[in-house]
């Protein structure tokens, strides 16, 4: 049976809070933890298949043009080489998140340096890698591809422009104002597990082990690329070694592996090299932003302007949604916002953790810090004064709003000094020490989700969906939700994820996973409870389930009487999104030190306070926040994609040259979770938390750098060379 629920209004019943098991929200360790720490959890490349061949992708060394010939004879005689695949169905980019159809195909047409153009398959990885290097390729290059986002005419992104009132006038009349231009460099997701796929055909049926975030979309994307039916495809991804957006859409190695396996009639594995992951998956676009803020004597915003320029390849619909939270975070009657896209021939731009806010919020929050200084108001106070009652552009109510609490509780826990904030007040040896803060905001999303929950005759539960756990905690929170609803400890709830033979989940992305799939599981459990209540002779509301016992009477095993009971939970977002603005909110506080001589900045401690609805698991939710804060530190200080100005290729395409934070970059980190119930966000009153932790954090560090040493930078990341150049004498 199906328990379908379309959410058209708030769900105030808070049923989870009325349950008796007491596992929801608890800081329980991950149910798959032992598999991960002992190396027994298998990731995509780690499945065994008899007679498996190995494929290595070959990538283009021109920016734009066509492949005129590939001399396959040059490698086919090499030991072990089986084939050079150049099939027009091969894909040349990863699909954008939720595309549901094949991305760009026809690999002979090149539109960026590093694009896959062929696949070499051999008996062993070493043989394939060698042959891929030796392959002779000739190109017909088309010169003059635009590469510099600021040198081309950009196009306005539809639906992003807002013009309300008269911002220019507000700026001119303002008691205080700032008008700043801020640049952010590109970022890479750089998930630790490289993209990998194993393809295996049985007749016309394909099984593909993959490292992907959204199997529910990926299955359609893969089928479309191959020209086959979804019914003939099975995707499996029970463990995914991180995604952060890079595995939202079907990627090149998966399609290539499937084509090669069919052609050679044997299983084929294709694993991207780290350099290939960097160069042919997704980059976060660099941004060029202008912030205009105007306020009155009391610091109340009268004008709000945010314009951004981002880039992408021609034909890509995705544009880094820089303004996403700027539309509603602060008030100001006179508003002007715009987003423009420059079409250039760098690799594909797409989603990297917290697309939009990850770079838009740091820019906005640096501008707010400057406004606070201009107005002589404490930066925490300035934000408190500008929290709008309703969405200032759409005049909608907020589903819930924890910004003020996060600011206040965060400031207190951090020990924020609300006194005067003149830079260069604290010195320790050669280090200037300072503090800074910023708000956090990230829109809340939900998506359609299905999951099957079964009560097995032995009194355990089985949860099945194609939803993934990319480190987010899906396995554990599903066990907790189902355990809570059905009165079972989590070790009596088995969770099976990452298999398209199971009902379609929402996929992991946009921080919507937990709230969406959790709500579907909640619906299924609610229906199961009704059936159980009938059997006990009571109502669902009166049914109390704990440790496998119903209303202190019969056990689940007795109620089931040898037969399995199963429900398909189906959650669908309804019209509610038109009636409310839903977002996670928070606040960051940072203490940094800046070296007077080298310009090096180090984060001594950082605190994040976040409000994101119900906390489903206090341990895994905190970890998501910690991860976001870690990314904030990278975005603030070190992470930057660098492109060759001559051919647009990504130069720092590995983990030695792309500087993500390491252990010693992370000082003391504290997370405050400001609990709430958001009845609009989802039937389980939870919002997303996977991305909020990096939406503004970089600004807290930038503002602390200014407070420490007086260098006001408008360019992320704030590397020593930039800090030195900005240091006042």
């Amino acid at each position: 049976m199906t328990a379908h629920f379309k959410q058209d209004g708030p769900v105030e019943s808070n049923r989870l809070d009325g349950m008796k098991q007491g596992v929801i929200g608890k800081a329980l360790p991950r149910v798959e933890g032992l598999a991960k720490v002992t190396g027994t959890a298998p990731y995509a490349a780690e499945y065994q298949a008899a007679n498996m061949a190995e494929g290595v992708l070959v990538t283009a060394t021109i920016t734009r043009g066509t492949v005129s010939s590939i001399d396959t004879q040059s490698v086919l005689a090499m030991p072990g080489v089986l084939a050079v695949i150049q099939d027009s169905r091969m894909t040349t980019r990863a699909a954008q998140g939720t595309a549901g159809q094949a991305p760009q195909q026809e690999p002979q047409t090149v539109s960026y340096w590093g694009q896959p153009i062929a696949l070499v398959v051999a008996e062993t990885f070493e043989q394939a890698r060698d042959a891929a290097k030796q392959l002779t390729i000739t190109y017909d290059a088309e010169e003059g591809a635009p590469l510099d986002p600021q040198a081309v005419e950009s196009e306005a992104k539809e639906g992003q422009t807002v013009n309300q009132g008269d911002l220019a006038h507000a700026m001119a009349e303002a008691a205080h104002s700032v008008d700043v231009t801020i640049d952010t460099e590109g970022h890479a997701s750089a998930a630790m597990e490289p993209h990998a796929a194993i393809a295996q055909w049985e007749g016309d049926k394909l099984t593909l082990y993959a490292s992907l975030q959204m199997l529910n979309y990926n299955i359609a994307e893969l089928a479309d690329a191959l020209g086959i039916e979804e019914e003939d495809v099975r995707l499996r991804a029970p463990y995914v070694g991180g995604g952060f957006g890079s595995k939202l859409g079907i990627s090149e190695e998966a399609v290539a592996a499937a084509i090669a396996a069919k052609q050679l009639d044997r299983p084929v594995r294709v694993v991207m090299s780290r350099q290939q992951v960097f160069q042919c998956i997704m980059r976060r676009s660099e941004t060029h932003q202008r912030l205009r803020l105007a306020c009155d004597d009391d610091g109340r915003l009268t004008g709000f302007g945010h314009d951004a320029l981002v880039s992408n390849l021609p034909g890509e619909a995705f544009a880094e949604p820089v303004l996403q939270s700027s539309h509603f975070l602060y008030g100001g009657d006179n508003r002007s916002l715009s987003l423009n896209v420059a079409r250039i021939h760098r690799m594909t731009a797409g989603s990297v953790r917290a697309p939009g806010e990850a770079v838009g919020m740091p820019a906005l929050e640096v501008a707010m810090d400057q406004l606070a200084e201009e107005a002589g108001i404490d930066p925490v106070e300035l934000r408190l004064r500008n929290i709008p009652e309703r969405n200032p552009e759409e005049d909608l109510p907020f589903s819930s709003h924890k910004l003020a609490e996060c600011l206040r509780q965060g400031a207190e826990a951090f020990g924020w000094d609300s006194g005067p904030r003149t830079p260069r007040q604290h010195k320790e040896g050669e280090w200037w020490i300072g503090t800074g803060m910023a708000s956090a905001a990230r829109v809340h999303n939900v998506s359609e989700a299905k999951v099957r929950v079964s009560l097995i005759a032995d009194g355990t539960a089985l949860v099945r969906t194609d939803m993934t756990d990319i480190g987010t905690g899906t396995y554990t929170i599903l066990a907790q939700i189902v355990g809570e609803m059905l009165g079972l400890p989590v070790d009596k709830v088995m969770v099976e994820l990452g298999d398209t033979q199971n009902p379609r989940g929402p996929g992991s992305g946009g921080s919507w996973g937990a709230a969406s799939i959790g709500s579907a599981a909640f619906m299924a459990c609610h229906a199961l409870r009704k059936t159980l209540a009938e059997r006990v002779g009571t109502s669902e509301e009166e049914l109390s389930l704990k440790d496998g016992i119903a209303n202190s009477g019969p056990s689940l095993v007795e109620l089931l009487d040898g037969k399995e009971l199963s429900e398909l939970g189906h959650y669908e977002p309804g019209d509610i999104a038109d009636d409310y603005t839903a977002s996670g909110f928070g606040a960051f506080f940072a203490q940094v030190r800046v070296n007077r001589f080298t310009g090096e900045a180090r984060v001594d401690r950082m605190l994040g306070a976040f409000g994101f609805g119900r906390v489903l698991n206090a341990k895994t939710a905190r970890s998501q926040c910690l991860g976001g804060i870690t990314w904030s530190i990278g975005a603030a200080l070190t992470e930057s994609l660098m492109f060759d100005p001559n051919d647009g290729h990504l130069v720092n395409c590995d983990l030695a040259e792309y500087h993500m934070p390491v252990h010693r970059d992370i000082g003391e980190v504290e997370v405050l979770m400001v609990e709430e119930r958001d009845p609009v966000a989802s039937p389980i009153q939870a919002k997303g938390i996977g991305e909020l932790g990096m939406c503004g954090g970089a600004a807290a560090i930038a503002n602390a750098i200014y407070n420490a040493c007086g260098a006001r930078l408008h360019h992320f990341p704030m590397t020593p060379d930039r800090i030195l150049a900005a240091l006042p004498d």
Partner: protein, 169 residues
């Protein structure tokens, strides 16, 4: 020439192809996929294993260079039925998210605590000689070759700190 590598107490013949890295040897030929490949270039630490008692990046070594050596991988450190103290502490402190860097972190931490016990100094040590005090900064410095993109560093530190303390008493 011994012509074999001992992996977690079992002898395995050297590969025929001299190009096979120690990492690929472990993953493909021995079939122990707990050791991960994150970069294949010595930049991430996901492939950390313990060779003759010392941690190395197994992607930076050819299998044939380890003729006669003794390798301990994550599978040799503990099993789901009998996890090591560090493995348990990682679960308790949520010292991971996706789990992909985790075997490397645990192998590195296991060997790293021995390095401290043997008085091997690091950039974070106060002196180059004598006993080393285990501090957060020592652990962070010594673990900085093991990247975690999920950003579980604070929890990994807490897990290692717990075990280091237990060892000390």
């Amino acid at each position: 020439m011994a012509d074999y590598i001992t992996v977690n107490d079992t002898k395995h013949p050297l590969p025929d192809d001299p190009r096979v890295s120690l990492l690929d040897f472990l993953r493909q030929e021995v079939g122990l996929t707990g050791t991960k490949k994150g970069c294949d270039h010595g930049q991430c630490g996901a492939c950390t294993v313990i060779v003759n008692g010392m941690r190395i990046n197994s992607c930076l070594a050819l299998a044939v260079m380890h003729d006669g050596d003794t390798v301990t991988t994550i599978e040799g450190i503990g099993t789901p039925g009998a996890p090591s103290a560090l493995q348990k502490a990682f679960v308790e402190h949520d010292g991971y998210q996706c789990g992909y860097c985790t075997p490397g972190q645990i192998c590195a931490a296991t060997a790293m605590l021995d390095e401290i016990a043997h008085g091997m100094p690091s950039d974070a040590s106060d002196t180059l000689e004598g006993e080393i005090q285990i501090s957060d900064e020592e652990i962070r410095e010594r673990m900085s070759g093991n990247l975690c993109r999920c950003g579980a560093y604070a929890n990994i530190l807490a897990a290692i700190r717990d075990v280091a303390k237990e060892k000390a008493v």
